[in-house]
């Protein structure tokens, strides 16, 4: 288990990480970007990995697909996992396509007993290949299903208990989905097992007025910082990172945002006693 605060490694910052040590304790890499045959992506990954612990974060496992997991994808993921020896491997609680098609999105699942069995089967398949617990992230969602029989946090809890997998709580995704589906973000935070949470994501979103869209192209907003504070109070310290996927700012700017997370965590976890 790592400690400290991390960033998502993006191509725009390769040179910053290669030029000099950066005040970042670990890096998260998008697994899919490095599941390639060779060339610059893997060369950069190897060089940066030499100086930073890493975690792997995938976007295409489609762990909720009725069709089961893509064995070739798992094979490539395992090869990458052996190459960079990450602290953990995460993906999303979602599905991305069925019947040989891919929608390249993180689509929400109906929270049903049947879907739970499908996810349980697929998580166990992934864990069997990776020989380690999977870490699952909650997604932002824009639809809910009539078929759902339980809440998202109840579903996540059941998955953790049934498979031993762990959770990556995306605080922004909780904020976005809570707004979009009119539930209390506190209920989510208080509804998942404390001991299962391995990582926090912090990110920005786009406010379209009547719906929030998880774009990862904005700084973290005040509401998400407040929810982060609440999560720290509930879970205690959890490795935390800023996730920016679009409109990528300078590394300096992201580190300043990460320092904000550090300051909040310090404030919550190490309260100053007034003399």
């Amino acid at each position: 288990m790592t400690s400290g605060f991390g960033l998502g490694l993006r191509t725009e910052h390769y040179n910053d990480f290669l030029a000099e040590p950066q005040p970042v304790e670990w890096l998260e890499v998008i697994s899919d970007n490095y599941m390639v045959d060779g060339g610059k992506p893997l060369a950069m990954l190897d060089q940066i990995r030499a100086n930073y612990p890493m975690v792997m974060h995938g976007v295409s496992m489609s762990i909720g697909s009725i069709n089961g997991l893509d064995k070739d994808y798992l094979r490539k993921l395992k090869i990458l996992e052996q190459r960079i020896e990450p602290m953990w491997v995460s993906d999303h609680l979602c599905w991305s396509g069925v019947h040989g098609r891919n929608l390249h999105d993180l689509l929400p699942l109906p929270y049903t007993a049947e879907a739970l069995q499908v996810v349980k089967r697929n998580v166990e398949q992934a864990q069997e290949v990776l020989q380690r617990p999977m870490v699952l992230e909650n997604v932002s969602s824009y639809v809910e299903y009539n078929a759902s029989e339980m809440t998202e946090w109840e579903f996540l809890t059941e998955v953790c208990q049934a498979t031993g997998c762990r959770l990556l709580l995306d605080i922004n995704n909780i904020f976005v989905s809570a707004f979009n589906h009119d539930f209390s973000p506190s209920s989510f935070i208080e509804g998942v097992p404390i001991e299962s949470v391995s990582q926090f994501h912090l990110a920005g979103h786009q406010d379209n007025g009547d719906i929030l869209v998880d774009t990862h192209d904005h700084p973290v907003c005040d509401g998400v910082w407040d929810l982060y504070r609440q999560a720290l109070i509930h879970f205690g310290y959890v490795p935390t990172m800023i996730e920016r996927d679009d409109n990528i700012p300078s590394l300096l700017e992201l580190i300043a945002e990460l320092d904000m997370a550090r300051a909040i965590a310090d404030d919550v976890l190490n309260p100053k006693v007034a003399l």
Partner: protein, 256 residues
């Protein structure tokens, strides 16, 4: 509705030519309607894939201009559901799609094929490149029939138009030349040297030699083929020059 039906219906809804909504989505007490909520995913699917095409086919997009490229990309997305886990591979059939749609503007598909092949070379398989010392070592060991093999990123495509000039002009932010059919088609070699994709045009004899390199691979076989197909050329001299250039260009692999 079970999970299989729901996922199939959801997928079908996103592939449809218009977003029609779905009765298996909950109507929210506030905010957007179920149809508008589904529309978020419907639009995101298209935007994401068009962005991938824009990124992969950068020169082609500049050559066509935003409006024309986006329309063609949107048509491609609508008619080609993605079958790739790796979204970067989605544009594989875009060059032939353009060849069919723009049958009177074939330089566009040639440009797209060039964009595509360069992108694939970028993260293609690594290999250990043969040096002059490696080749001399093999020769000094007196091996009969030295076998050569091309690096895995190497490929050849044929162009019938001044597409190479168009690509260069776009790459240098200059106005592309007027399209012209070439008197003779030319072969273009694409490969990766170090971390960077490279390309250059090939003379007929070098194109034939590289085709041999990719199939038979032995020095003797390449020499014999060139002797047969180019009887008026001093093959020994030409092949020697070519071999040195191949080593400089890093197109020969020493991997077994």
């Amino acid at each position: 509705m079970n999970l299989s039906e729901l996922q199939s219906d959801f997928q079908r809804a996103l592939f449809d030519s218009e977003c029609k909504g779905a009765d298996w989505i909950s109507e929210s007490a506030r905010g957007l309607s179920a149809r508008d909520r589904l529309d978020v995913y419907y639009n995101a699917y298209r935007i994401r894939l068009i962005d991938v095409l824009l990124d992969t086919f950068e020169h082609t997009a500049i050559y066509l201009g935003d409006d024309w490229f986006n329309q063609l990309a949107a048509d491609y997305v609508q008619s080609h559901p993605s079958t790739y886990t790796n979204i970067g591979l989605y544009g594989r059939d875009f060059p032939p799609f353009l060849a069919e749609r723009l049958a009177d503007d074939k330089e566009v598909s040639e440009l797209a094929l060039m964009d595509w092949t360069l992108r694939r070379a970028f993260d293609g398989a690594d290999s250990t490149v043969m040096s002059l010392d490696d080749l001399q070592q093999l020769a000094s060991e007196g091996n009969e029939g030295i076998h050569l093999q091309a690096v895995p990123t190497l490929s050849i495509s044929t162009q019938h138009f001044n597409t190479l000039d168009i690509w260069h002009a776009i790459n240098q932010d200059q106005t592309p030349p007027v399209v012209e059919r070439l008197p003779q088609p030319i072969d273009i070699l694409i490969w990766r040297k170090g971390h960077s994709p490279h390309f250059r045009s090939l003379a007929k004899i070098e194109s034939a030699a590289i085709a041999c390199l990719c199939s038979a691979g032995s020095l003797d076989a390449i020499g014999a083929t060139l002797e047969k197909d180019f009887p008026d050329v001093d093959v020994a001299t030409e092949f020697g020059v070519m071999l040195h250039r191949w080593l400089d260009d890093e197109i020969i692999s020493i991997d077994p």
